[in-house]
């Protein structure tokens, strides 16, 4: 079984490029060039140097001793929270901005939900001196004011998406519309492993540095490259794609994807796509998504803005459908408690997205000598407001 993308842009039955003809030249240009460009020695050199000197890679693989004691197993944390800008998102934006430059693009657009991908995009645009426009739902702009300010300080223009529910899904629609209107000079930096082929594969490759490092680091610490399980939260799924990437074809490594159940899977306010979704088309990709019986895309809910997306990347849809991945959903409450627990036990304030991955230990039992790597995708600074309100701090 192959869990990577095939030559037609599909993971099993998921993926493809369901895009209007207006986007065909842009997406086709990318499809024809991305592997070739990524294979260039000069590209790899620049990418690797920036990851090292600018992002601060490799990020540590940290043995969480007290957390491990509590749950009577061996838990390692892959510290993506220590990346420049506070999350794994920057691995992808560095890669894509280098790609955009090589394709001769001078204008960069991006969508953002909570603002993490927007900040990571604004950051690399500042670094490269390229024009940057970030689309963000009007509702999100109001609830994520610090990140809006960050983007502005970094020189980006933040454009409010006023259509639909005015959140991430609508920001993505607006970014796609902008790309239709500006087909020649613009590159669209998608922030997750979603969208038309080749985006899911390209983003996964840029993020795959995470599992590449886990292999080397685990070898040093445990004298083995492969953990028993690798765990990551999934919204669109880019940090998970990076953490799983080099283990996809290694069946002895268990893959655990953690989705946001919101207020509960049956509450009507959830983002647990594998449990609630059906096969359909969202943002140019055939994948699992939450929708009405009539094929209208529905609004998700999660306390974590980064998981608040009604679809999931096609790679993950295939991991779910094929049974290769174990999918667990975690409620808002469970995630918040797990986040606070990591603060108390390890002195690390996690992003609420990552807290979902940490919350599985309450219910999913592991053996004492199991080695588990949890991808700690981001830090919690951006979520302080939510933590303060939730815990009355």
């Amino acid at each position: 079984m192959n869990y990577n993308v095939n030559e037609k842009g599909y993971y099993g039955e998921f993926g493809g490029a369901y895009i209007p003809e207006m986007l065909y030249p842009n997406v086709e240009e990318l499809r024809q060039n991305y592997l070739k460009v990524m294979a260039e020695e000069s590209f790899q050199k620049e990418f690797r140097e920036l990851l090292k000197d600018y992002v601060g890679r490799p990020t540590p693989l940290y043995f969480a001793k007290r957390l491990s004691e509590k749950y009577n197993t061996k838990i390692y944390l892959k510290r993506e929270d220590l990346c420049h800008t506070g999350a794994h998102k920057v691995n992808n934006t560095i890669g894509q901005i280098l790609m955009a430059k090589r394709l001769g693009k001078t204008r960069i657009i991006a969508e953002t939900g909570a603002g993490q991908h927007g900040v990571a995009t604004a950051t690399v645009c500042a670094l490269m001196g390229l024009e940057c426009i970030v689309f963000m739902g009007e509702v999100d702009i109001k609830r994520q004011a610090p990140n809006v300010a960050r983007m502005k300080m970094l020189g980006a223009k933040v454009v409010p998406a006023k259509s639909g529910s005015k959140t991430l899904k609508d920001a993505t629609n607006e970014a796609i519309r902008d790309w239709i209107n500006n087909p020649v000079d613009t590159h669209y930096i998608i922030g997750s492993v979603v969208g038309p082929h080749p985006y899911p594969d390209m983003v996964a490759r840029f993020q795959s540095v995470i599992s590449e490092e886990i292999k080397t680091q685990l070898k040093e610490k445990e004298s083995r490259e492969n953990p028993d399980f690798v765990v990551a939260c999934v919204g669109g799924g880019s940090n998970a794609a990076g953490a799983f990437y080099h283990y996809l074809e290694t069946p002895e490594v268990g893959i655990i994807a953690v989705e946001a159940a919101g207020k509960g899977i049956d509450s009507g306010e959830s983002a647990a796509t594998s449990a609630l979704g059906k096969v359909g088309i969202i943002h140019g990709s055939k994948t699992l998504l939450m929708q009405t019986a009539d094929g209208q895309i529905t609004e998700p809910h999660s306390i974590s803005a980064g998981l608040d997306y009604p679809g999931v990347g096609p790679m993950h849809a295939n991991l779910f459908a094929s049974g290769r991945g174990e999918f667990i959903s975690i409620t808002d409450d469970e995630a918040m408690e797990a986040g606070l627990e990591l603060c108390k036990l390890e002195g690390i304030i996690p992003a609420i997205e990552s807290s979902h991955a940490l919350a599985i230990f309450e219910t999913r039992k592991f053996k004492k000598d199991d080695v588990i790597v949890v991808n700690l995708s981001g830090r919690g600074d951006k979520d302080l407001d939510t933590y303060i309100k939730y815990f009355n701090l």
Partner: protein
């Protein structure tokens, strides 16, 4: 013979109108269709609303959202169209996004189209390759023409490919834009219309996006077979209702 082909063989500049079914009111569909035919329109695109219309500008987005809030569904649209052929005889095309069709079941959708007398489909996010591999046979079985789009950025090679795959007409997107966003056509568009016309394609060309009045209609149809008006018609409908249809159409051509 498919009604679309029949109409295309007439020697005149065709006027096609797009409207969103279920807007302004849920049950307006048939009335709008009848009035359009009476006003002399040659071809109609019935918009099946979608929650996330990627290729559409603010006007069609808003009408789609309102239509969905009014309660429009795929099932309901087919119910509304059940007897349409008793009163409307010009070609009818359903234009929508692929996901609602996929959820309805592509074969089931095509079957329903044939039953009520739909002549073709425009599904902008169903790519050529997917269509040919999975769905062309089904469309053919039910006598439906699939209309493809080209844009100023479409390569000559791909235009030829699309021409070969097309059986009705080619929907020529006037400029690099979403629907409803043009302030008239300039030299660049005129050159593009002429350039494509000079390729002498097998299929007639009908221009869409940015046509709003008689001036843009004449510009768009100088070298092509017709033009489609969507956003401008919906705007008029929002302001004046049915009463404005006849004078709007007469003001175009």
């Amino acid at each position: 013979m498919n009604r679309i082909k029949n109409t295309l063989s007439e020697n005149k500049k065709l006027l096609s109108i797009y409207f969103t079914a279920g807007y302004p009111k849920l049950d307006d569909t048939i009335e709008i269709l009848q009035q359009l035919e009476k006003s002399g329109v040659d071809l109609i695109e019935i918009g099946l609303p979608f929650s996330d219309p990627l290729a559409d500008g603010p006007t069609i987005q808003a009408s789609s959202q309102e239509s969905l809030e009014n309660g429009m569904t795929t099932d309901l649209l087919f119910q509304q169209l059940k007897d349409v052929r008793n009163t409307v005889s010009i070609p009818l095309i359903i234009m929508g996004y692929f996901n609602p069709v996929l959820q309805f079941g592509v074969e089931n959708f095509c079957k329903k189209c044939a039953e009520v007398g739909i002549d073709g489909l425009i599904l902008p996010d169903l790519p050529l390759a997917e269509y040919e591999e999975h769905y062309a046979k089904i469309f053919k079985k039910y006598g439906l023409l699939n209309i493809f789009l080209i844009t100023p950025q479409t390569s000559k090679e791909r235009i030829r490919q699309i021409d070969t795959a097309s059986k009705g007409f080619i929907y020529m997107v006037s400029s690099a834009s979403v629907t409803g966003s043009s302030d008239g056509f300039g030299k660049e568009q005129e050159n593009y219309f002429e350039r494509i016309a000079s390729l002498k394609l097998n299929n007639p060309l009908i221009v869409g996006f940015g046509i709003q009045d008689s001036k843009t209609f004449s510009q768009a149809t100088l070298h092509t077979n017709g033009a489609i008006i969507g956003s401008a018609f919906i705007k008029m409908l929002s302001e004046k209702g049915f009463a404005g249809i006849s004078s709007f159409i007469k003001s175009i051509r």
